[in-house]
Structures are given as structure tokens and as C-alpha cells.
Assembly symmetry: C2
Homo-oligomer: 414 residues x 2
């Protein structure tokens, strides 16, 4: 009798909870009677193509503590890639190689943890399996800090990024309020097309701080004049002004505001000027007060020590239940979650057609942005609030968070 | 009988533990029989000049929980300023005003929490008190993330910043290692003249990660050619290279490297190009691999959720024992600590002459930097290691760290 084995891989950009989904897949597969072995591919689909396959039951099967630590380790334990498979009608070369490997390892269940590009891979592999009549169940496990996937209430990874961002805005406001002088701090948040991450800065507002005082999203056409008027008014009202701005804001012609700043530079150093730097320059030149810009950068997607427990648990469940659905017979689907109620916060898990998710993008609905286009509405705040709740237990060693790394665990286990 | 009252104020740039020193001063003053009332001045010495004085025993006297929370609240609870008093032989106008306020509130003990500029204020006020024969004891409580004060083993605020920096490098390395391609990440750390903060990135190295692979400090003249050679070699050895660089690195003529980049820009936008951005550009142009620069920015001095318990406790003791020394009769001194032993880590507290501290600056000794000038020695690692140990209990509310803010507490108490 041939074995029924699982293969799991990770793809795309990091989040702080993508390994929690991996832990869910591994735990569920280890428990599932119909599954024999659990394999992982290194560096996503590239690892499959290169036969870079490792045994995960050997690593995690007898070590519950390691599996727990995996849940709070940032980025991808198995490594990642950005590799798009060709359309099947154009070339089947890579598909043949992938299914050779599937056959070699008796893979009957394949789980791909990733964003909408990865769902494209899930869709294409499912399609090819059907074409060659290969018995396999392929399920996508969603992840992205950007929260821009369709067919899901919110994406795993987003809640933790939102918590990091809101917490950073709170700490930056403490840093800003200390001097009795006018000042502007512009904080640039990730998000080229969707403003979810930038909007989550709103959660920093509390009884003593209205920061961020202004929020600029890629969903709203950016006007330099309106921005300067907003800032001038806010300086009058608050003296210290903290601004959340998405890296992806565009003017009314659809051109990135940050690209505009490159025009100032005759040497064409566009990459020197991010959106925040550009606005810093604008405020300095046009208003003339003390101004600073801060780019939150990659820490918003990898600072696991400040992740959301809600997010970690949901990511775990999506992986865990993904295995159950696959064994039940589902394929060519993405695991998803819907919000059953907001207070008390409750979600339900289900699968959705992966074809609907691949290559689509969800932006902030217009009704969740205020009329002036410089803030968000309370509906959006209520939507965001539960996603950042709860703190995981993070162990520290030598004063630093204790994470797992493939090379290290591999040495330890062997 | 007139009262013997305490006045305390904070000055300079934020750290995550400057409020822990404030908590130490308040707790000690509340316990001390010889002290009647505890006042705080808002915005440092400016608050004294403006008679912006508040009662701290009313706020904290009966609320132990608030005092505990103060210890883990970032930045300055009492606000800050950057105000240098004139030399006494030039103008005594401000001094007269300060001592009028001292007399009005029966201030016999004044504590100023700050860096070397603040120690200049402590020295001048002590000098003036002596001149006018005013009975007051003035003690400086040190703080600065930069660790550049003399006459002290290390400064309060530095350990927490070092912990944040090392933790960020660890998380950034997890973010970087996932792709199987060559890449360079340049992380810019604060420090214009002293490289302590940048050097503390070294603590991120562990069993599975050698990041930061290269460390560039302001103490070493920076050479573009040597840098590019270092990076090329490290790419060959490690594929992914993480670099720690101080914002203040200078070339052999003493000119800031970041200033050099401004020359590229015909519009004179020097402020658009930080050191990290400049090196990013250099690697992109000269080596051509994937490269990213990250500026840790103000979060390294205000991310209290990730502060060092060792640092918090030492900052508290410096404030607490500062009151005891003042009552014993000390004045015109700064509280200090020396390292009694490294393993087990143990410090002793004492006072030092504030005149020796004011306006002086401590850099990394040459013997703690490697010969190539691109790394630090093990002696420096051993010096740094104990300073980041321990994690405080940080309460969370609505998913965010719970901090104290003056406006809020004032409302709550009244």
C-alpha cells in the first residue's frame, strides 16, 4: 500500500504568523490517521522543483515545545520564493517536474501558505492535477500583512502588523509630545495599493492622545494643497502633529507621490525619496516647523515579539483545519474565515474557491474613509479593534526573543 | 518651620527608562522623613522658569500601581526641553527667576534627570546656589540612550535601546534569510559621534545567525572602497548580508558620509539622504544586488514594551538613591554606577563630580573595535551582554501597551 503524505511550503513576503499556519498544518497532519508522513519544501515551489524536501515529522513529531515556538517565530521557517508558474497552455515543463516529486514522495495533500500570487500557484497546480488525473488535494492557506485578499474577512498576518503599527504610533506619540514646541512627525506605513495597514494606526488613539491626527490612504487621491492645509490646521489645534501615511499614496493622475519627489533630483535618485521623506521635505519647505519622517519598514511584518494572539490563533486554525478539509476531499480551495460577530468577537472557518482569490485585491471601502479623505470612520475602527487583541507568551533568551531557525533546529534534532 | 521640599524635572531626548528614574525619585522622596512635599516642573528647567510646577505626591502618593506603570512608560512624563542656561558671569537673570521659584516652593532638593547638557545645568545651578549662599542640594540623574556619558559604567536608557536594536536585528535577519538569493540589508542606528548603539547590534548574533555581518562605527574613518570590498566578500560567504551602520560615520576628512550623498543632489536636499540610504545607493550602483536600507529611528528610544528590566531597575535606583545622597548632604554631583563584577553581573551606586560629566563625551575605546574597523571585539560583547537582560511586566489594554500620560493621569486623579 502506498503512503498518503503531506507536503507543505511557504511563499511570498513574511508575516509574523505564517509559521503559526505551518505549525497548524504540521500538528493536524501528525494527528490525522489517514496521513502517513509530513514533508516540507524549502523556498516554496522552488523547493519542490529542486527536490529540496525535508521531513517535518522527524523535526516536530516528538517535540511539542518546538511546535509551540514555531507559532511565535517570524517570517518563513521553510524559506520563501517569488516564483510564478507558467500558464499550463504555454508550458508544462515545471508542472511535470512538480508532479514527479509529488509522486516520488507519495504526496496526496499539498498546502501552500501565501498571498494572492501563491493562490495562483494553488489554482494552476489543481488545474494540472485534474488534467493529468493525479489524485491530490491542494489547499491554499492565506497570509499577507496587507489584508488585501478577497473572500476572507481579514488575512492572517494583518492583525499582528496592525498591532505593531498602532503600538509604534502610541510610542512615537510619547516621543513627540515632550517638547512644548510645534512639530510634525510623518510615519510611513507599508501598502502600495490598499490602506489597511496605514489605517490601523488609528488604534493608537486613546484617552490622552489623538495621534495619528491625520491619515492618508492610497484609496484617496492625494492633494499637496489639502495636505498642507490639514497640517497647518492641526498644528494650530494640537501643536504636535503625528501623521500616518501609506507608502502608496498617489495624486489625482494616479502617479505615486513618492515618484513625484524624484523629479526634484536631477540625478534620478528616485529611490532616495520615500513618501514620508517627500512629505517631510514638503512640510519643511512650505510650513517650516520642526518635522521628522519615520519609515516603519520591515519590522511591521517581522516583529513577532509584539504579535497579536488573536492573529496567531487564527493563522494556526487556518492551517490546522486546512488539513481536515483536504482529508475530507476539498481541493483547489483556499482556507478562509468569516466574522460571525464582533462583540463578542467570533470567527468561522471555511473554504473558498481559490480561483476567486488569485490575483484579486481588496481595498478599503469608500464608506470607511471620512469625507475629507484624511481619516477613517468608526466602522473601520470597530472592524480593526478585535484583530490586535491578546499577547502570546514569548520566551526570551539572553535578553532577546527566542525564535526558531531551520539551520539551528536541524542541528539540534540530528 | 519652613518645609523641605523636592523638585524634580526631566530634560533632553527621550529614553524608555527616564520615567523609571523619576519613579525612583518620587518613591524615595515619599519615604524620606526629612522631605515634606514632592513637586515636578513641566518641560525641564523651562517649567521652573515659567512656574509650571505640579504636585507629584498628590498624583502618586497613594497610588503604588501608577508609580509602577510610570517605570515602564517611555519618554518624559513631565515633558522635556532643550534649554541651556547662560554662563553666570554673562547673565544671572534666569538664575534669579529659578531661585525665586525654589524659594516660593521651599525647594531644598532639586533633581534633574538628563544627559550631559542637563549636567551642565546642574553644575551651573549648584555654582549659583553657592554664590548666593542658598541652601539647596542639586543632584543630576543620568540618562541617555547614547551611552556617551563619562564617569559612569553605562548610562540608563542605553540597555533598553540596545535590547531593542539587537532584537530588531534578529527579527530583520529572519526577514532577510528567507529567499535563496543574494541580498544586502543596511540598518542605520542612532549615534552621531559614539557607536555604542550601533555596536549593540552584535548581540543579535546567535547559533544560527551571524547578523550583523558587518558593523561600521563613527569611531572608525569610513572608506567606501573598504566597505564595498567587505560587502562583496560577505555576499560570497553568506549570500544574505545584514549590516549595522551608525548614522554618524565619517570619512577620513571627518565629513559625515551622509553629507557626502547630498552632493549628488543639485537641489541641495541633503536631508533626503541618510547614511543608510546613501550606502543602499552605493551598493545598488557598485554591486547591483538586491539591497534595502532601514532606519531604526525614534523607536529605539521609546519602544518601552521591549525595554531591559536591568536598565529599568538601575534607572530606578539612580533616582531612588539620588534622593538619599542629597539628604545626606551631597550637591553638585551626578548619580553614577560602576560595574563591580560581570558574572554575576553586579553594580554599585555612587555620586561623581558633575563638572567632570558636563559637556564631555565617551566613545568606544579603540581596543574594542577589530583591526579591520568593521566589527567589534569580544570584550565589547561581554560589556554589553548583561545590560539587555530581563523583561519588565508590561500591561496591555485593547491590545496595546498601557502607558501613563500626564494629561490623562491628571484627569484621573482629580
Amino acid at each position: 500500500m502506498t503512503e498518503n503524505n503531506v507536503l507543505v511550503a511557504q511563499s511570498g513576503g513574511p508575516t509574523t504568523v505564517i509559521n503559526s499556519s505551518l505549525a497548524g498544518v504540521i500538528a493536524s497532519a501528525l494527528e490525522e490517521k489517514k496521513i502517513d508522513k509530513v514533508y516540507g519544501a524549502k523556498n516554496g515551489i522552488l523547493g519542490v522543483l529542486r527536490d529540496n524536501i525535508i521531513s517535518l515529522d522527524e523535526l516536530f513529531g516528538k517535540n511539542h515545545e518546538l511546535l509551540e515556538r514555531l507559532k511565535t517565530t517570524p517570517s518563513m521557517f521553510l524559506g520563501s520564493c517569488r516564483h510564478k508558474l507558467a500558464n499550463i497552455d504555454q508550458s508544462t515543463e515545471e508542472y511535470k517536474k512538480v508532479f514527479e516529486i509529488f509522486e516520488q514522495y507519495n504526496i496526496r495533500y499539498f498546502f501552500y501558505i501565501g498571498g494572492n500570487d501563491s493562490m495562483d500557484t494553488v489554482a494552476k497546480l489543481s488545474q494540472y492535477a485534474k488534467q493529468i488525473d493525479y489524485d491530490i488535494h491542494i489547499i491554499g492557506i492565506p497570509k499577507t500583512i496587507d489584508n488585501d485578499l478577497v473572500e476572507i474577512d481579514h488575512t492572517p498576518g494583518f492583525g499582528s502588523a496592525a498591532k505593531y503599527i498602532a503600538s509604534s504610533f502610541l510610542e512615537i506619540s510619547h516621543d513627540t509630545y515632550i517638547y512644548d514646541t510645534e512639530s510634525v512627525v510623518i510615519v510611513e506605513v507599508m501598502g502600495r495599493n490598499a490602506g489597511w495597514l496605514t489605517a490601523s494606526a488609528v488604534l493608537a488613539r486613546n484617552e490622552y492622545s489623538a495621534a495619528p491626527h491625520l491619515i492618508y490612504l492610497p484609496e484617496v487621491a492625494f492633494s499637496k494643497e489639502a495636505f498642507l492645509e490639514d497640517v497647518r490646521r492641526m498644528i494650530k489645534e494640537n501643536k504636535q502633529v503625528v501623521i500616518a501615511v501609506s507608502e502608496g499614496i498617489k495624486d489625482h493622475t494616479g502617479e505615486y507621490v513618492s515618484a513625484g519627489s524624484a523629479k526634484l533630483d536631477s540625478f534620478g535618485h528616485a529611490q532616495l525619496s520615500g513618501t514620508g521623506k517627500y512629505l517631510e521635505e514638503l512640510v519643511k519647505n512650505e510650513i517650516g516647523c520642526k518635522v521628522r519622517s519615520i519609515e516603519l519598514n520591515v519590522l511591521q511584518r517581522c516583529a513577532s515579539h509584539l504579535s497579536s494572539l488573536t492573529d496567531i490563533e487564527e493563522a494556526y486554525q487556518l492551517g490546522y483545519q486546512g488539513v481536515e478539509r483536504a482529508v475530507e476531499g476539498h481541493t483547489c480551495e483556499m482556507m478562509s474565515l468569516s466574522r460571525v460577530s464582533n462583540a463578542p468577537y467570533k470567527v468561522a472557518y471555511q473554504t473558498v474557491d481559490v480561483m476567486k482569490v488569485a490575483n484579486a485585491e481588496k481595498k478599503i471601502p469608500a464608506e470607511w474613509i471620512n469625507e475629507s479623505g484624511n481619516d477613517v470612520t468608526n466602522e473601520l475602527v470597530e472592524y480593526l479593534r478585535p484583530l490586535i487583541l491578546g499577547e502570546p507568551k514569548v520566551d526570551y533568551t539572553s535578553g532577546l526573543p527566542k525564535y526558531l531557525h531551520f539551520d539551528h533546529i536541524n542541528q539540534t534534532v540530528k
